[in-house]
Symmetry: C2
Subunit: 360 residues, 2 copies
DNA sequence: ACACGAAATGTGGGCGCCCACACTTATGTA
DNA sequence: TACATAAGTGTGGGCGCCCACATTTCGTGT
């Protein structure tokens, strides 16, 4: 028979003090005599007090301003999904009567200065908390430094910056992601063989993100198949003649059995690969529409889902938890490396877990 | 600039009536004149009123009793995970001050009468809602009929019973699950080949569950590879001599390239399979400890995760949503078909999404 | 026209927590 | 000793919703 929940009132009764005193002890707001504090702490030690979050939240009737800083969703469907997650998180909070105003700042993921400008804008709006996808490593460091200085809490997602001191990092283990890709390319293949890592339309030097994926890929393949070859390429300006020419160079590699596209741009190379040889396995990232078409057409064999939507949604939720409840969140929250094929993609798309819903 | 949340008070003001009247209209509790009802409804149509769930829940200070009816967690690690999900759901609700008492009834999944007995016990305790994993199709029908009669709401998970009228069904698309297994066995293989479906320690005649998986498997394989062969077996009494003997029969099938174990008992056959021939692909279900060891050892290649923990947790949450908030839940909630390999299993196990936590 | 009951409407208190403020008690100074 | 100040403590109101109950309005019959 589980006893009724313990309230502050009960603690006060047990300790022989008033509710106000208990409250002061709980929140360490001082103005409590040693004797009283001891009495309360003694009771607290004996029972397991869990404040009612419902009541707690209902009381504090202030509006929090959360800023988000991500690549422009209009420029890339991946970041569109991330933005959807931000909105979903906002909606869910609103449902609980938690007043959160989200102010989204966007930047162009190809232009460093665009990031710096947007970051400055965010900083000057003095939000209560920030959610950031910091694609530019070095350009973002001063921003984090300033946030630390004025003690504005922030959460990073998608890309980890080692020097930053965020409340938490939300993302995937990219090294492991690369290892997984290697296994997906290897399974059932006649080995040793040649494999290609393609970085499409991204500046590798600026992107830790992609380098980590590649290093996991190479390391794992070397371990499992020392005699297989790995080639990597940076392909720029998708859909131009120059691009296609360079891609052809890749596809003429002797005994090429698999292609790993390190970003969500798999759709830009997959059809060409399969046209040359349907036996070449293709692994890419993310459930954006064009990739799904490739999955269905069979030109992409596996997608690894980074789930930007849920990452962003969790970011908003975590920020709210910290701001409203002073909850300590774990220092990182690594998402599962979801393997998507033509046969299970439907089950992911229809899964309501990605939508805004109470308590889910 | 998003306006402040609309409260009942605001509606009352706009409609020129009192809070009480608005409340009566919202809850259709009658005792409202036509004129007043119209005024209120007019305002409601114009604005988008979203009641504050926090306040709503805080008010109603009653305890709900939810019964659960599942196989005994001590008999099967799969059902242990499900039970963990139930407890996690309960904890999460408790954190919000939502008073839910869970009364768990267990049955022996091998004994029909055991189910009937437990079901009766649940029925006579007259809970406010029930969460059920009904492995026995026909034996469960009278139970649902009685629940319908006395209007006790219930949710099914894991196994769908077409004749039941639950609030919702939580589970996976099993046909699709079978198709997925087929693809996982096929990928990279030299075809046509022979494949085996193994039902371990389960009574196929009683289990729609397994038949659906097999039919999805066969249908898809037939479509993709008309010349491949599919054999299916029911293996009973794992780890006995008789079991091993029958298993050997399976493994001697000519040109056998893949084994699909339809339950979480993959660990009982995987090592034997790989000993005969490491090239034979093995696909099983669920992240139970023994299976994880097989994944690591390489005797199981792929696991499909049914996520009993999250299924059960969602079941409790949904039930609470219905009981407390009169929320309408979708008629079904199909979970993603998660593909697990040695390379991404860690990311699933460490994922905090499976643990009890606020708003997550 | 009045009385009476039914119907409609308004009001207040409580859920648990938090904070402001009023109040009581201890400490220090002239 | 009186008084000012500080330190400690208790109380009440409010967050938004819901429900019980008090109050008002309306309709009917005599």
């Amino acid at each position: 028979m589980p006893q009724k929940n313990i309230r502050i009132k009960d603690i006060a009764l047990l300790a022989g003090v008033s509710e106000g005193t208990v409250d002061r002890v709980l929140h360490k707001r001082g103005k409590v005599s040693k004797a009283a504090a001891e009495k309360v702490n003694k009771v607290l030690k004996e029972i397991n007090y869990r404040p009612n979050l419902l009541a707690k939240t209902l009381g504090q009737n202030r509006t929090y301003r959360i800023a988000t800083l991500t690549p422009n969703p209009d420029l890339d469907p991946f970041w569109k999904q991330s933005q959807d997650g931000i909105v979903a998180g906002e909606k869910q909070l609103a449902q609980f009567g938690i007043q959160v105003v989200i102010e989204s700042a966007f930047y162009n993921p190809a232009i460093k200065e665009s990031f710096q400008e947007a970051a400055l804008k965010v900083f000057h709006s003095f939000p209560d908390g920030v959610l950031i996808a910091p694609l530019f490593y070095y350009a973002s460091l001063p921003f984090f430094k300033r946030l630390n200085e004025v003690k504005i809490p922030y959460i990073l997602f998608n890309t980890r910056i080692a020097e930053a001191k965020p409340l938490t990092f939300i993302g995937q283990d990219l090294i492991q992601s690369g290892r997984l890709a290697a296994d997906l390319l290897r399974v059932g293949q006649t080995l040793p063989a040649a494999f290609a890592v393609l970085h499409v339309d991204e500046d590798l030097s600026n992107s830790v993100h992609l380098r980590e994926k590649e290093s996991g890929f190479r390391e794992h393949l070397k371990k499992k198949d020392p005699f297989s070859q790995v080639y990597s390429f940076e392909l720029k300006n998708a859909n131009t003649a120059a691009f296609r020419k360079e891609l052809n160079l890749v596809l003429n590699i002797d005994n090429l059995r698999g292609v790993f596209v390190s970003t969500s741009k798999g759709y830009a190379v997959a059809p060409s690969v399969k046209k040359i040889n349907p036996e070449i396995r293709v692994v890419g990232y993310d459930l954006i529409k064009v990739n799904l078409e490739c999955l269905e057409a069979g030109t992409i064999d596996f997608l690894i889902n980074q789930n930007p939507m849920r990452q962003a949604k969790l970011g908003i939720q975590s920020l709210a938890n910290c701001l409203l409840f002073n909850k300590t969140v774990p220092t990182q929250h690594l998402f599962p490396l979801e393997i998507i094929t033509a046969q299970n993609v439907g089950s992911y798309l229809s899964h309501p877990g990605n939508q805004a819903g109470i308590l889910v």
